[in-house]
Subunit: 893 residues, 2 copies
């Protein structure tokens, strides 16, 4: 018999924290807390396995579930001393989802389950609070109808509004027990009207309905979108947690709150949280009421007028402090906790590793090493490499003028400028067209996920630091200002007012998520200063990793930036971009239109000083580090003149007619330039071109070496398919080197190698390595040819492929390990067999992609090369890959 | 010590026929004939190894050659009873090239070597014929100067013409001994004038010069061109044969001739040859004098007035007949022999397997099996599969009107029409531009090889059936009419006159190489009737081969032709060509420009009846044989309207604006369509399109099956890169099948499979085979992606690559076995591992290429598919591959 149900409560549990795959994160942690002796309302978790079973069997349950569920309810009843459905002494439960990975707000929850027309009376008597009982009942009907019965919540909101109007009051709290009892009647009638059947009174039917709704919510659109965004497999499924209700809304000695054991925004080591007195369930995170601070320090920091929990409930607060410290030590990570205080008794409802900004993650990890809580290796594994991107990007220039129009909470750091937009759909649409947008909402809900993802920043009028907007924005690395009470949003008119001025859709504002400031217009930005923590972590990473990290750079600026970020050389210096400069393009074009070798040579010689200068600059900056220079690669027609004026200039320079220029341009047109006359094919047909480039490299290298710097040029021949191509072009390079060395009397060490970017080259790597001193995998082209997809044309179908699930990830972003990866492995193996010291690297876009970097480490490349801003990401990923490998080896041994 | 020199003569020899790699074809056969006791002038062969050594050592000889050569000369001297350079009794020798493969006329020959001012007198005395002696001497000077000393032959021809003018005579033979002696003096003076040194008198110096010239001629342009044309490796080198001279020009009891043991044009079993009385060396093959027939039968056939050798020299003739029969039995193949009669004594100068037309090869092979001379397997291996192409192509329609303007010899069969052109360079140039040309020459020489290759047919005014033009044209499979004496050619005016009419360059004529007729204008052609021999050979091939042969066909006509040629199914029925018909293209275009699924479905449904009709026709013809139908493959934009008129038609049909049509056309434009939105990507994004095609296939299949025929459709999904694509599209096909079967109440057996045409598909063949019931290797696309070369754009560099020797053969014609081939092997292995009965075929152009077919057999494919006219070629190649494999297995065992 499969165990589908795991109980917890009263100081013990059937589950453990390690069982999150089976019990979901929430369930596993509830079990763990219970075992730790913390005050957890008793309950049980229905496993993720059941979810899988449920979907496999066309949304039905296995036969043996009912008995297990029944036994688990009896377990709760015994601890609580109440009975599920008992009119006199009813047990109420909450039903919550809980997947392996946290998916905040994506799936459904039902509270106060177990109430019906009879038990509500029992609850009224027991609590001696009929208003509380009927408020709980009407909330339950509203929530259950929405989630389980699919009766839209606006029906109930309307009835609630009418009730308040009838009574002439403004707030829900102005309604008394009788009002609410009447409202319950109206709610039930509405349900019956909508469904044609009454609201279920059988508490077991209620429970089954809620469990089913949670499972079903695994496949709702929000959940699917979220999973896609965070790469969560559908097959994981969700667990369901059924737990005895505790109430934070039974009076002034009740409260509910969420807290982080450290600051999730900065990582600062201080207890940080928010709570609401006399409130239930999701009131805090939903952002409906602006919450109070838990600590006095927090209250002061936020200039809040509302009293802190530390002041209001000092004993409970102290208990909470003890618990959070215990939890952080136990889990050895920053925790995000949820609690409820019922009549001054503290109950823990959740603990989990807290989401945090990249800066916070960095600080927490480094601090915890200092505190002796975790090792350096663990610290390295705690940081999501991609998240470093947030730290490396520009912040607002403090010197620039700015007009602050509103201030909110610094919910997620960073800076962003963009056009104001008020709906998530529109945000997504505009972003698709390349526009920067700021999503402005009164508050956000899980339905806004796609808009938040598309936006550069999020601004909300309501909600705290733990509101939906804040939590999600931090997770995504989006800048966010939440709870900016000073702005009035009018969705209908598509504008908001702040400081007496109206900002319409499309107008540009700027957010500073690190200060909470909202500013008019676009503000200029500056490069970020990286913290000492960053340097510390990178140092640890460098000590651990074996994979070197180079950069793709062809300008002095890029080379300098990359070197500052720790690049250990240039893995790809493209030479074609150098030709697009207006002072050079004409000579390049003259070369292309020339009709014979002589004409080409005449034009090419004009380019030599430019190229030499380019290389000189780069060699100087990269002093002591290797620089891989790729000889001209793209099809010649890319350089062709398009305008009449350009054509005239070329005709004049080359001393031929405009007609000839046009004819040549037309002759160079290709059906499939990606598979055409490019790469080393140019070097074979126009050897004088590659000869000029080689000469420029060696002249520059000698000059820089003469100035006392160390130059390590690696000359790379692109698009080789046959060894013989490399034989000829290597010879050509060597001839230039020897000529320059003879002329200058100085020699420079250098290598000649090739890009492996065609399937044939990968397969014939064994013989190509007879000539090549290094291989650099050009995985952009290799992906294009292996999959038969041109990047330029993939748009027409690749997104569709992802939507249909035919491919999981864009193969141009994440290396297709099964296909392209096998060719890389083959080339590595065959190349090294021929030449054991063959230097191996990767210079496609994949060189900066963490999943692909893991692969590069695994197959034994020497280095990856990526864009300058991705160098730190690659360094950290390389360290993680090394650690993962070490762990795997250890596990295998 | 390496043996560089092998002697032969006087009934024995150091070499054997099997040693052709070392001794060259001529040398090996001279040795063999000598060992057989046939009358061969004694001589020796310098090995091909020496040639290799000569080139390796910068055109110098090894030290130990001289002594070996000296000994070999002594060997000849002893047999002949004369001394090399002896003024009284001089030995004269010929020096001839002789490579492993016959390269007629490509390299140089020197005759009468050993003559000088002293020995010529000895020869005059011994022969009692001063005219003969001086004629031999002047020929020797002329030939040696041209070949060895590089003094142009026109110098000597001018002097000869002057001598005849001075004496007032027309023919060479009108010059007497004194005239010739005087001429010799003038020749020598001319040489000295040109070179600044006298003509060499030292016979050993003469011999060394001639040997060097032969080796050097291995690298002359003609030889290089010829090797390239016939795939002869440069590394083979040539041997040199030095042989005692025998003279066919010593008087009326002397003659020289060439003969074939069977008719090289038709294969008829009759002795066939030509000779000239009182002629030397190359006079017969050079085509300068129109020769006489050897047999009476031959003479009658050609309506010749000149007496046959059978009449003139009956005894020698009988001796020749005995020898040729002996040789044919010994070599078990048709022989091409050369002989000289000196004073009624017969000398054999050469035997080799004779070149022949494809028809002759076929007849000879089949006849020889019947005669018990060779086995069926040998017969199969005797035929060059590519040569069958000649038999399958059209001949002149006998019913069409024709105006015969001249008649020559039926030198090489077949029919050809084309524009008249008078130079080989021009022929090549015009052919490059896609024009059909007929090369018209007074006579051809080895310098004309490239023009003959480029021309559709060759017409010469002079020369017999064994002239250069005839031999070479037969080898190439070009139609040729030689010796058409009735035409007068004026190279300068670029015209020829025949039947009183002048035909200028560019005018069209037609040749019938099987009758010798030359006709005005273009004559219509008909399909050839294949002989019984052809059927016999194909039957033997079918019994031997294991590789099946299918065809690529999408029309009824092609399907029918292919079936007649023995195709065992259709391996590739492209469905896109069917859409280009004017009655259909508009509906196709409406589909493409449609903005939604509904619009697409509306347009597509119009195409259904057309497609059904297409498939019905093909299924009917292919009754009982499998038909692989590939669903739509090319990028949609290929179907787009280009003209304003077409756009209007589409706009009207689809009921949208012309602007929208234009916008859609522009949106569909792709940078690299070969790597774009095509193949099954269309099926994924527009499933309704593939659904329509599948429905049309099943509706047609059911209809044809209902008519009592057997239908075996195999539905092929193109350009699959991920298994999941196939999963979805297979499902779509199955749904259509089941719908049609349910509607009609009849089921049809069918398969669903895929093309393997992307490297990724080859690598992931293991998982793709979980879905695919067959693989068909689309080696065109696989070559494009594996090598990163688009066929459309390869022209800009691929020829250059071949010229430089970077690649040997066009990879789109001959499969790149190292690269593309490895992917095929991987896919075969992985596919079969998953599904042991996976059907495997190839449907790229390579399916009809013999070298590639051998590869397909080796890797274990089930079938190849090729164009209809190549089906017999593939059948024969498949048989040869099976035999080769069997031989290899036997050799290994």
């Amino acid at each position: 018999m499969t165990q589908w149900v795991y109980t917890f409560g009263d100081g013990s549990a059937e589950g453990r924290a390690e069982m999150r795959n089976l019990l979901g994160g929430k369930g596993a942690n509830l079990a763990e807390m219970s075992s730790l002796g913390l005050p957890v309302p008793p309950g049980f978790t229905i496993t993720t396995e059941l979810c899988t079973e449920y979907y496999k069997n066309n949304r039905t349950y296995p036969a043996d579930l009912a008995a297990q569920k029944q036994a688990a309810i009896a377990f709760i009843e015994k601890i609580i001393g109440a009975k599920f459905g008992d009119p006199a002494n009813p047990l109420l439960v909450s039903v919550r989802s809980g997947a392996r990975a946290s998916m905040p707000g994506m799936m459904d929850t039902v509270l106060n389950l177990g109430l019906n027309d009879e038990t509500v009376e029992g609850l009224a008597t027991l609590s001696d609070n009929p208003r509380f009982a009927y408020d709980s009942y009407r909330r339950f009907i509203q929530m259950y109808s929405d989630v389980v019965l699919e009766v839209d919540h606006y029906h109930f909101e309307e009835l609630l509004e009418l009730a308040k109007e009838d009574k002439g009051v403004q707030l829900d709290t102005d309604l008394d027990g009788d009002d609410l009892k009447k409202l319950v009647g109206q709610f039930k009638a509405k349900v019956e009207e909508e469904l044609g059947r009454p609201f279920p009174q059988d508490v077991h039917e209620q429970l089954d309905g809620a469990i089913g709704a949670v499972f079903n919510s695994w496949m709702n659109d929000r959940a699917i979108t979220y999973r896609k965004m965070y790469d969560i497999p559908e097959s994981w499924g969700t667990a369901v947690n059924v737990q005895a209700m505790v109430f934070g809304n039974m009076g002034a000695d009740c409260a509910t709150g969420v807290a982080f054991t450290r600051d999730p925004s900065t990582g600062e080591h201080s207890f940080y949280g928010e709570y609401l007195v006399n409130a239930q369930g999701e009131d805090v995170v939903a952002g409906i009421r602006t919450p109070q601070q838990i600590t006095i320090v927090g209250k002061e920091k936020q200039n809040s007028d509302l009293p802190a929990m530390e002041e209001v409930m000092p004993e409970v607060y102290q208990q909470l402090v003890d618990i959070y410290q215990k939890l952080e030590k136990h889990y050895r990570d920053m925790q995000d906790i949820e609690f409820t205080v019922q009549n001054n008794k503290l109950w823990m409802l959740q603990t989990r590793n807290g989401k945090r900004t990249a800066a916070a993650a960095l600080k927490i990890a480094v601090d915890m090493v200092a505190e002796g809580l975790i090792t350096k290796e663990e610290a390295l594994q705690r940081i999501e490499p991609e998240s470093l991107d947030q730290l490396l990007h520009p912040t607002l220039d403090p010197k620039s003028e700015k007009k602050v129009i509103a201030k909110g909470l610094p919910a997620s750091p960073g800076a962003a400028s963009g056009q104001v937009v008020f709906s998530s759909d529109e945000a997504e649409e505009m972003a698709k067209h390349g526009q920067d947008v700021i999503l402005v909402r009164i508050e956000t809900s899980p339905e806004d996920i796609h808009g938040m993802h598309a936006a550069k920043g999020i601004l909300t009028a309501r909600g705290g630091m733990t509101s939906h907007a804040a939590v999600v924005a931090r997770g995504m690395g989006r800048c966010c200002v939440s709870g900016a009470g000073g702005i009035q949003i009018d969705y209908k008119a598509e504008c908001f007012t702040a400081g007496g001025k109206t900002y319409r859709k499309g107008e540009v504002i700027t957010l500073n998520g690190s200060t909470g400031e909202v500013m008019e217009g676009r503000i200029s930005t500056i490069q970020p200063k990286l913290s000492g923590d960053f340097g510390q972590l990178m140092q640890w990473a460098d000590a651990v990793r074996s994979l070197r990290v180079r950069t793709n750079a062809e300008t002095r600026l890029d080379a300098k930036t990359a070197r500052e970020f720790g690049a250990e050389g240039i893995g790809l210096c493209r030479t074609e971009h150098m030709f697009f400069d207006p002072t050079r393009i004409t000579a390049m074009r003259e070369m292309i239109v020339a009709e014979d070798k002589e004409g080409r040579e005449k034009a090419i010689i004009k380019l030599l000083p430019f190229q030499r200068e380019d290389f000189t600059g780069i060699f100087e900056i990269m002093d002591g580090l290797p620089v891989t220079i790729r000889l001209l690669d793209p099809p010649l027609h890319e350089f062709l003149p398009h305008t009449e004026e350009d054509m005239l200039a070329v005709a004049k320079g080359a001393n031929i007619s405009v007609e000839k220029v046009k004819a040549r341009a037309s002759a160079l047109h290709e059906q499939n330039p990606m598979l055409g006359h490019r790469g080393c094919r140019l070097g074979i047909t126009y050897p004088e071109l590659y000869a000029m480039q080689a000469r420029a490299i060696f002249e520059a290298a000698v000059a820089v070496q003469q100035s006392g710097k160390k130059v390590l040029p690696e000359i790379m021949i692109p698009l080789v398919m046959f060894k013989e191509e490399l034989v000829r072009l290597k010879q050509l390079v060597i001839e230039q080197a020897e000529a320059v060395f003879a002329e200058t009397g100085m020699t420079v060490e250098y290598l000649v190698g090739t890009m492996i970017e065609l399937p044939r080259a990968a397969l014939r790597a064994g013989e190509i390595a007879e000539e090549a001193e290094f291989f650099s995998f050009g995985t952009n082209d290799l992906t294009q040819t292996t999959l038969g997809i041109s990047r330029d044309d993939a748009g027409a179908f690749l997104t569709h492929y992802q939507d249909l699930g035919i491919i999981e990830k864009d193969p141009f972003a994440t290396l297709d390990q099964d296909g392209v990866g096998e060719l890389v492995e083959i080339a590595v193996e065959r190349g090294r067999k021929t030449r054991s010291d063959l230097k191996l690297g990767i210079c496609g876009e994949h060189g900066g992609n963490p999943a692909s970097i893991h692969f590069c480490h695994q197959v034994g490349l020497d280095y990856v090369s990526c864009s300058p801003y991705r160098v730190p990401i690659a360094r950290l990923t390389a360290a993680q890959a090394a650690l993962k490998n070490k762990a795997a080896l250890k596990a295998a041994a």
